[in-house]
Amino acid sequence: MSLNDPASAPPRPAIGRTTVVVALLLVAGLSIGGTAAYYELRPAGTAGGGSTVTVVDDLGRTVTTPVDPGRVVVLSPSIVDTLYRLGLRDRIVAVGCTASLEGGIENEYSPNQTAAWGLSNASCLTDFPNLNTEGIANLTPGLVLASTLTSQVAVGQLTDTYHLPVVLLAPTTLEGIVGDVRLVSEIFPSAASASTALEATLESTLATAAGEDANLSTGGGATPGVLLSYYFDAGGYYTYGPGSFGASLIDLAGGSNVASGVPLLYAEMNATAVLDDQPAFVLYGTSWNDPYLVAFETPDVWPTAPYWAQLTGTKIPIDVTEVTEPSPSMILELPHLENLLHPASPSG
């Protein structure tokens, strides 16, 4: 073979490699894009006849849903509560639950709730770690009601892939719960009267509580210190900071939240600080015997909490669902709390 003469560069190919690559890219990109667009933009399958209503949900999303849908999937216990109280329980075809290898409904709903809402044979679709969107779609619901505990990814799948209307209810205040009842009634005009009644009840409860609370402060009555805790560990007690539902409940019930200095909505308060404060009432949330809801303690476990024996306040167990799930039941729990904190005070 001849010695390569370095003076002459090797002949360049006729078509540059860059050109070929770019051409291939364009062709491939266009095909992929085109295919995707074709499938994406196909008309949605089940449009479903009938009238619709457009609402704005708690996250500001504008959603168009069928009016008075007969099949609803509900992904949050508090929403089940609302629908039940509005007489719409029979519309629910499935609820969300934390499905596991052992059971479903009982991981998410207390025995009280299961009994009250007749959920023992209800269909349950897992929402952890991933929402079973296929299962939801397979039930052909007209509407999905969910809270912000459902992931954006899952909501996106429901709306974009299955073209299901999803309304997100996420109240941040007790008043917001009332607003949600109103919102539901917009979608279900058949429950209008029930809704009006429920709203009135809720609002009057709130007003009464607020009034009594005002009386207390102007009358110079004592607002006892209250620790409202739903969980504990060696470090302290998990409780509610200002702005949370629990804090509002304590406030309206005429108590003084020992965790009012804690800057987070849900935070752990140092056990020593709690001991220092020696709240007059220790309201501790108990759950049912569910091994999967690890954030909630069963009644027999609370005595092992830090400094439990040294806490001199009145220790009262309460149903944890009443203070953690923002629903009408939470508001209706207020008088009970009031009674606990002010046993002899006049109510109503």
Partner: protein
Amino acid sequence: MAAAGPGAPTVPGPRRRSAGVAAVAGGAIVLALVVGSAAIGPVAIPSGTVLAILAHEATGGAWPGGACPGVGSSSQCAIWVEIVWDARVPALLLALVAGGALGLSGATLQGVFRNPLADPYLLGLSSGAALGASALYTFGWFAASRAVVLPAAAFLGGLVPGTIVVLAARSGRRSPETLLLTGVALNALFASILASFLLYNPAGNIPLSFWLLGGLGDASWTHDALVASVLLVGGAVLVGRGAELNLLQLGPDVARSLGVDARALTRLLILAATLLTAGAVAFTGVVGFVGLVAPHIVRRTLGVDYRRVLPFAALTGGIFLLVAWDIAQVVVPDVVIPVGIPTAFAGALFFLYLLQRRDRSGALRGDAT
């Protein structure tokens, strides 16, 4: 391998011939997996119906016999078509292209760092990309333009650990331990930042498990197209670099003496790997070990020539992630676990196996024996 006789024209490579065979076999596996995966999911759909749906939709409705032969209710059929064609197929296609991007990225990084333990996840690239993407969600910036801004945010997020890793590798201490420890530290850092995002904005609605453990639920045809185009761009950059990557294994000086600008090539390749990783992670969350396992499988079966390793690592990565997705759907009934769990399980076992095969000097014994 049989020794070539004197004057033999070429290596009588079983490995050379089998590149074609491997391509065909790989294609067949992909096809089988696609069809099979379409039948897997929480909702039980008869496999015959699944096949009919695939055929019907893929041919744009021209398939005779309709989409759901033997299924009475047309609304049931419509739902099933939606489930199979609008939910499952995009998810499994996402597994193929995202897995392909991760496999290609891993093969590239292993070549650039001359280190068989390099992997976009272990080096922290995936976590950085996930952080970039989730920052977008958390702070609500440009929430509307997910199509372009999300992969861009993921890419920028991935550049941070990418730069750190390049610096760690260039300081002369190219030992695998240094690189991996850097990656471990970066992974831990980004995971903690990610968790604090959730604290900051619980209503930001990013379930930690999606970003930290991965999931293919965010799949749609559009997302598939986006990741596929990222794979294409990355692949275009890497096309023809296989030969240069081979030379890079001889060290930057020898490579340079043979006409390869080692420094520029290294920068380009790491950039490509970051882009590929970011494009995948932006839509799948952090899925680890795909980039580690896929190139190794290719090297063991097809040899160490990067002209072959690169494209086949993409193919193998796609298959690996798709199989992991299938496992994620069936291992717990009615529950779809994060897809990063099966990949981590298989990948971590593989990683331990690789570690114990290293001899005392730290070199990997007989990589492709």
